[in-house]
């Protein structure tokens, strides 16, 4: 260890940063847009969960034609609008703060405008029953063109954000030649670098194939090709959901907990591993697809196990950072320090519970990735059981936790209803565990996902209890979500005004970034992107080389 260890900053100019009112406003609107989408998604989620318990509330939803329309709303607004809007705002802020540079205000408003336009277009097509295709929109089910165009605009909003972040980094580097990139900016930019590369699949599929087809410019489509392009983006998108939560877990949660992050270099290695390994794994969503060879699926299985590794590193790093905090607060022994953490801080509680839920989400995810074992659970209720413990709680509850300091920071108001915020996290956490228990056991008994179970003419032993637990857990999640929205609205409308000069919460690292040696190469993003592209070519090249130009033989169907 050299003298540069101990308490190294994760940002440039750690002593102060002024964010203008204009920047606060645009980022706040992005966060509000995300949570407005989530509110719509959660209301529909209650209907989905109760379907499994054979309780029909969807009939009372104004304008709702059927269950599958609600399910499309649920998927699109939660998985795409909510996550994109929150992340565009949150990581723009972390990058701006870490580099101590203001971002272009006009460009940020463009991002917001693109998201609103995409949300309105997709919302129009789904709301009027023209796009009941679920958020995976597998062809040859054909949605109205406005659905695909809406998705394109939402993806473009992330590209514009990426452009803003990359430009900020390039500007900072020009002014600080030879300096290491501040950690908080590094991990934010790495997240967008991964996603820009990953989103190419969905971009080619929507712009190149589905949009012209839905406009009637082409007559037929290739279902396996569009499905494969979807999953090219569809697996790494889960890391685009997760990594903003990891940004918070690495550089903010240690601060909430009164600890500190141990290793700066290891954190960078983790994000580089996600950049490299997130994309060449998509076939593990297509293990049961005919038309893709078993050998290529095996390669993707191996790489998927590889991308599990950085999450295990994260488990160690984040737990150690928390342990430092717990021991500083008088905790001792093997586990007692965990109980000594500040369980009265809503931002921390939400994210601690998110982490606990993620341990189960990760374990079930590894089972999904397990090659032929996947056939035991593929497309059963097990799968939503799994991903409600990842994106549906680990990510969502982390975003709740972030909002508990972020919204007061942006609005210069105090958080209203601290107790209610903590209660919200516990209710949501217990709810997701109960619901996942239902969905997972139902899935093991063959209960399908994405199915109007209450009107299915078939049923099996075990599905009834599974359905009841799903409905009960989903109801608790809904209540937890409602409590969160009450806190959010209370804060925005009635929170006591503060002077608002407090900085955002970020930690220090025990091990500083090295100025010489191999670690410096971690900051050369260009090389890592090239390496990621090579891995993608290895993982997808043989399939596309043998499959293209594809079989455009399917006419469109609108079975909704």
């Amino acid at each position: 260890m050299n003298a540069s260890t101990m308490n190294a900053p994760v940002v440039d100019s750690p002593d102060g940063f002024h964010l203008s009112d204009g920047h606060r406003r645009v980022i706040a609107w992005m966060i509000y847009l995300g949570f407005a989408a989530l509110a719509i998604g959660i209301i529909n989620g209650l209907g989905q969960a109760l379907n499994y318990a054979r309780v029909d509330i969807l009939q009372y939803f104004p304008g709702m034609r059927d269950y599958y329309q609600g399910l499309t709303v649920h998927g699109v607004v939660n998985a795409i609008v909510f996550t994109f809007a929150f992340t565009n705002g949150f990581l723009a802020l972390t990058t701006s703060r870490a580099l101590a540079r203001p971002l272009s205000l006009a460009a940020l408003w463009v991002v917001f405008g693109l998201m609103v336009a995409g949300f309105v277009l997709a919302g129009f097509s789904i709301g009027t029953g023209r796009a009941t295709v679920l958020y995976t929109f597998y062809s040859p089910l054909q949605a109205h063109w406005s659905f695909y165009l809406g998705l394109v605009l939402l993806v473009v909003s992330t590209w514009v954000t990426a452009g803003i972040l990359f430009a900020a980094l390039a500007g900072w580097r020009k002014e600080n030649p030879g300096k290491r990139i501040p950690l908080m900016a590094y991990i934010s930019v790495a997240t967008y670098g991964m996603w820009v590369l990953a989103s190419l699949g969905i971009a080619v599929s929507t712009v190149g194939i589905l949009l012209p087809w839905s406009l009637g410019l082409t007559q037929t489509v290739d279902p396996l090709l569009t499905r494969t392009l979807f999953w090219f983006s569809g697996h790494p998108i889960v890391y685009f959901w997760l990594l903003p939560a990891y940004v918070s877990w690495y550089v903010m949660v240690p601060r909430h907990a009164g600890g500190k992050l141990f290793s700066d270099p290891l954190t960078r290695v983790v994000f580089i591993m996600f950049l490299l390994l997130s994309i060449p794994t998509g076939f593990h969503h297509q293990y049961t697809d005919p038309g893709i060879s078993g050998g290529m699926k095996a390669i993707h299985a191996g790489l998927t196990f590889g991308v599990f590794f950085p999450s295990l590193v994260t488990a160690f790093s984040v737990m150690y950072a928390l342990e430092i905090g717990g021991r500083r607060r008088g905790g001792s022994g093997l586990v007692n320090w965990f109980a000594k953490l500040d369980w009265k801080n809503p931002a921390l509680v939400a994210q601690l519970l998110a982490m606990l839920s993620f341990t189960l989400g990760g374990a079930t995810g590894l089972i999904n990735a397990s090659y032929n074992l996947n056939q035991a659970i593929h497309n059963t209720a097990w799968v939503p059981g799994h991903f409600h413990m990842t994106v549906g709680s680990a990510v969502t509850m982390s975003f709740f936790g972030i909002a508990y300091w972020l919204v007061p920071y942006l609005t210069r108001r105090e958080l209203v209803g601290k107790g209610m915020a903590i209660l919200s996290s516990w209710v949501y956490f217990i709810g997701v565990l109960v619901m996942a228990r239902g969905l997972i056991s139902g899935g093991l008994d063959g209960m399908p996902r994405r199915t109007l179970i209450m009107e299915a003419p078939y049923s099996k032993e075990g599905w009834e209890l599974a359905g009841l637990l799903t409905g009960l857990g989903g109801t608790l999640m809904f209540i937890g979500g409602a409590l969160f929205f009450a806190v959010l609205a209370g804060t925005v409308l009635f929170g006591k005004k503060t002077d608002g000069e407090e900085d955002i919460p970020f930690t220090v690292t025990h091990e500083a970034p090295a100025e010489t040696g191999w670690e410096v190469k971690l900051d050369r993003f260009r090389y890592w992107v090239v390496a990621a592209v090579i891995l993608v070519l290895i993982a997808y090249g043989p399939f596309f080389a043998s499959y293209l130009p594809g079989a455009f033989t399917s006419p469109p169907y609108r079975f909704f």
Binding site: Y138, L224, R227, G291, F316, N372, L373, Y458, S554, F559
Partner: protein
């Protein structure tokens, strides 16, 4: 132990765990023959009903205790709706979709694959115990998706 050393121990254990899991999976696939569906052929979905073997969906005996079950998935039914085989039969499912993407899961077994228009899916399974299995379409395929199912009866 220093934190760095603890970390190395933890990460080595994690990496070993992942490696052991992966080796077990590849052994089950390549050593025990539990394969995933692969490339089994293509066809024009607009002419599927004129293309063998899908011109005659149903069950046929191809050898002693060996059957081929040819299935079509369409909105919103399987054809045939039911097959009956004796216990101990080895059944090869050969299936495709006539319109949109459907799912094909013989619940209680590892027969689980997608029906993708234009692609032929194939999987072999031995039904050892008498009983009844639902075949469930587990991919959303339109407003009547939940109505789509069939049965395997093992006597």
């Amino acid at each position: 132990m220093s934190v760095k050393k603890l970390e190395m121990v933890f990460l080595s254990l994690c990496a070993s765990m992942l490696l052991v899991f992966l080796l077990a999976l590849f052994y089950s696939a390549y050593g025990m023959g539990m394969h995933l569906p692969g490339v089994e052929g293509t066809l024009d979905p607009r002419e599927v009903r004129q293309t063998a073997p899908f011109d005659e969906p149903g069950l046929r005996e191809v050898g002693e205790g060996q059957y081929e079950a040819v299935f079509l998935g369409m909105a919103w039914a399987f054809q045939p709706r039911e097959i009956t085989v004796p216990a101990g039969s080895e059944v090869t499912f050969i299936a495709t979709a006539t319109d949109v993407i459907h799912g094909f899961h013989v619940e209680g077994t590892r027969v689980n694959f997608m029906l993708i228009p234009g692609q032929v899916a194939r999987q072999t399974y031995t039904f050892r115990e008498p009983g009844e299995h639902l075949i469930i379409c587990h991919e959303y395929c339109g407003a009547g998706h939940h109505l789509m199912y069939a049965r395997v009866i093992v006597e």
